[in-house]
């Protein structure tokens, strides 16, 4: 019985790989398949799935659940990177959103949906601040978002009064811990966000605008694109994604921790986008690739934990993945590889 399910899983995976064979997403998907195959062979218990009380449990479900935050951040980050920018402030924005939601419920006694909406509003303002600096004042994105990255955590601590605010509200904890259709609710949230983003960018001209601006801002301005408006939009959108991720992070641990919520996740989100094939110089983006990239990084982390590698040392293989993904994108490296090939043939 169990082996049938495994066979089905791998058949589905192989089908996904085959259908993506001409697509950039093939490479991260292949890496993910190799990593999962390694686990199938060497990590006992990794592939067990259990149905307990109508909920699915297992390492793969954990990966989907744990990876949700980076997948959400990755959606916003992908669009920002596609315009040739970067958003370093998403981790701090997550902390702000979590702090606002927790204080809204605990201190202001707001109904939980209102508190969550308020948190998303705060994240929206954070994104708008970045957008203002980049699109209107034309400050380089790394620098502009660095300001909120430095100050944002301070703002979050100001909101929480420097304390870890714990809450018992069922609505907020559902966002991070809930179950829907037997799977973690975060998965539904990610799929919804992904679907909306894909619709917005691929079924309207917005995606084209974003890629055009990333390719050449000057040229896109000459063709009449409202470059500042589009840029402002992507930073607001990234802030909104960070706000959602912040709600998930706070709901997950039923508390708002201004110091640690989303710490370093901006880097994970950037890695997810780059591993997924989005070019760091802007001009092209792959939303599905970013999701696969986020899952790849999360699977790597979970695999390392399963192998008893401590969380601290696990940064070493992560660094090697970043450098490998960078090298594979490098034109010089590719040219070198291409030069090797005919020589071997002759």
């Amino acid at each position: 019985m169990g082996s049938w399910i495994h066979l089905l899983f791998w058949a589905a995976f192989a089908a996904a790989l085959w259908s993506a064979r001409r697509h950039t997403v093939f490479w991260p998907l292949l890496a993910l398949a190799l990593l999962l195959g390694f686990n199938q062979a060497f990590t006992p218990g990794f592939f067990t799935l259990e149905l307990r009380g109508g909920h699915l449990y297992g390492a793969r479900v954990d990966i989907l659940n744990e990876g949700a935050k980076v997948m959400l951040l990755g959606l916003g980050m992908t669009l920002v990177i596609a315009t040739g920018g970067v958003d370093l402030s998403v981790g701090a924005t997550m902390a702000i959103a979590g702090a606002v939601a927790a204080q809204g419920v605990v201190a202001a006694h707001l109904p939980a949906p209102a508190a969550a909406a308020l948190a998303l509003g705060a994240a929206l303002i954070a994104g708008a601040w970045n957008g203002l600096l980049v699109a209107v004042l034309r400050i380089p994105p790394i620098v502009a978002t660095l300001i909120l990255m430095v100050a944002g955590r301070g703002v979050a601590q100001l909101i929480t009064g420097g304390q870890i605010i714990t809450f018992t509200d069922p609505f907020l904890s559902f966002l991070g811990n809930g179950w829907l259709f037997g799977l973690p609710f975060t998965l539904t949230l990610v799929l919804l966000a992904f679907g909306l983003t894909a619709l917005l960018t691929r079924k309207t001209a917005l995606g084209l605008f974003i890629e055009a601006i990333g390719d050449s801002e000057t040229a896109s301005r000459f063709t009449g694109l409202p470059a500042p408006t589009v840029k402002f939009f992507v930073y607001v959108f990234s802030g909104l994604c960070a706000g959602l991720a912040g709600l998930v992070a706070a709901g997950n641990i039923r508390s708002a921790d201004a110091n640690h919520a989303g710490l370093y996740l901006e880097l994970d989100a950037i890695i997810a986008a780059v591993v997924g094939g989005t070019s760091l110089t802007g001009g092209r983006f792959y939303l599905a690739g970013s999701l696969v990239g986020a899952l790849l990084m999360q699977t790597l982390t979970t695999t390392l934990y399963a192998l008893n590698v401590s969380a601290d040392v696990a940064t070493v293989p992560k660094a090697l993945v970043i450098l490998a993904a960078c090298l594979l994108q490098s034109p010089t490296f590719r040219a070198g590889l291409a030069r090797l090939r005919p020589r071997r043939a002759s």
């Binding site: 909120l148 100050a151 090298l327």
Partner: protein
């Protein structure tokens, strides 16, 4: 030429004014703020940040960025502590860690130059790598107990100012590094190449300047100064900890920017970075003296200062281009 000078001098003058204003405000608000001890501690406590920030300044002047600073400082600290614990003579341990820092920086510079990778991503990889390697060396905090540290550096090398106050060796290191780096930036070919590279890489290449060598050397220098910062931090903490100095690179970048270096590269002034570091230190000291203001105000104030200085830079460079 005159416009170029003003573009460089206005931010430095502004940061000097902020520094004096903060110091004056502190002296006016707290009677003991003006004492020599506060000043001595300001240099001693921020020495490792200052040294690392000088490295960051060179990298930013060349038009790049280095995110590996904090991890490298922590790695150096734990490496030295572990080597000394295993009986390696302290001077050899220090030399080895400096060599490692320089090699690490050179490796990052090579990747950045030869494979045309974005500095931001490569040094991000370096940040994760150095952080993890630190935990491989030793997984937790390790005290350094050696007569060389306890007596020689803490006692003999400190400069006695009065019966109860002496200038720690770390402060001497900071001043020496700032003086040396200023000379390197102003009066050597390497320094001029760094400025040229940061102003415009394409024209630097067309002028026949050794762009590749300069780029690799800049990151080598950055790695070396991070390692030196780690050595000085180990003098100051008397221990090594692989989990320490998370986010130090942000403070180093903030100090550089507040000190008047343009984040786009090509314009900047090394002693300005010292001013930036002292401003960050003074904010911390002021908040400590105040007592009822919380530490998170430090981050908010630093963020606000960062915004003001970046805004100032953008306005100045825009006016300079318009003329």
């Amino acid at each position: 030429m005159k416009r170029r000078l003003s573009q460089q001098q206005i931010p430095v003058a502004a940061s000097l004014a902020v520094l004096l204003l903060l110091y004056g405000a502190g002296c006016a608000m707290f009677p003991r703020f003006g004492s020599l001890r506060v000043l001595v501690n300001l240099f001693g406590d921020n020495a490792f940040l200052g040294i690392a920030a000088v490295g960051t300044t060179f990298v930013i002047l060349s038009g790049g960025i280095d995110l590996s600073v904090g991890s490298l400082v922590a790695f150096t600290g734990i490496l030295i502590a572990q080597l000394i614990a295993h009986g390696v003579p302290p001077l050899a341990a220090l030399a080895l860690s400096l060599l490692f820092g320089a090699a690490f920086g050179a490796l990052m510079g090579t990747l950045i130059h030869f494979f045309e990778l974005p500095p931001f991503l490569v040094t991000l990889g370096g940040m994760f790598l150095a952080r993890g390697l630190g935990f491989v060396v030793h997984a937790e905090s390790l005290p350094i107990t050696h007569p060389f540290y306890d007596n020689f550096i803490a006692q003999s090398l400190a400069i006695r100012l009065s019966a109860r106050l002496s200038l720690p060796f770390t402060a001497v290191c900071l001043v020496a590094v700032v003086l040396g780096a200023t000379a390197l930036a102003r009066w050597t070919c390497f320094g001029r190449n760094v400025y040229a590279l940061g102003s415009n890489e394409a024209s630097a290449r067309l002028m026949g300047l050794p762009v590749g060598r300069t780029k690799v050397l800049v990151y080598t220098l950055g790695g070396f100064l991070s390692a030196l910062g780690g050595c000085v931090a180990s003098f100051y903490m008397q221990s090594g900890n692989p989990a320490s100095f998370v986010g130090l690179e942000l403070d180093a970048i903030a100090a550089t920017v507040i000190g008047g270096t343009m984040l786009r590269g090509g314009v900047g002034f090394i002693p300005g970075t010292l001013i930036g570091v002292l401003i960050l230190g003074l904010i911390q000291t002021l908040i400590t003296f105040q007592g009822d203001l919380n530490s998170w105000w430090t981050r908010i104030i630093i963020g606000a200062l960062l915004f003001v200085f970046i805004f100032l830079q953008e306005m100045i460079s825009r006016f300079a281009r318009r003329d």
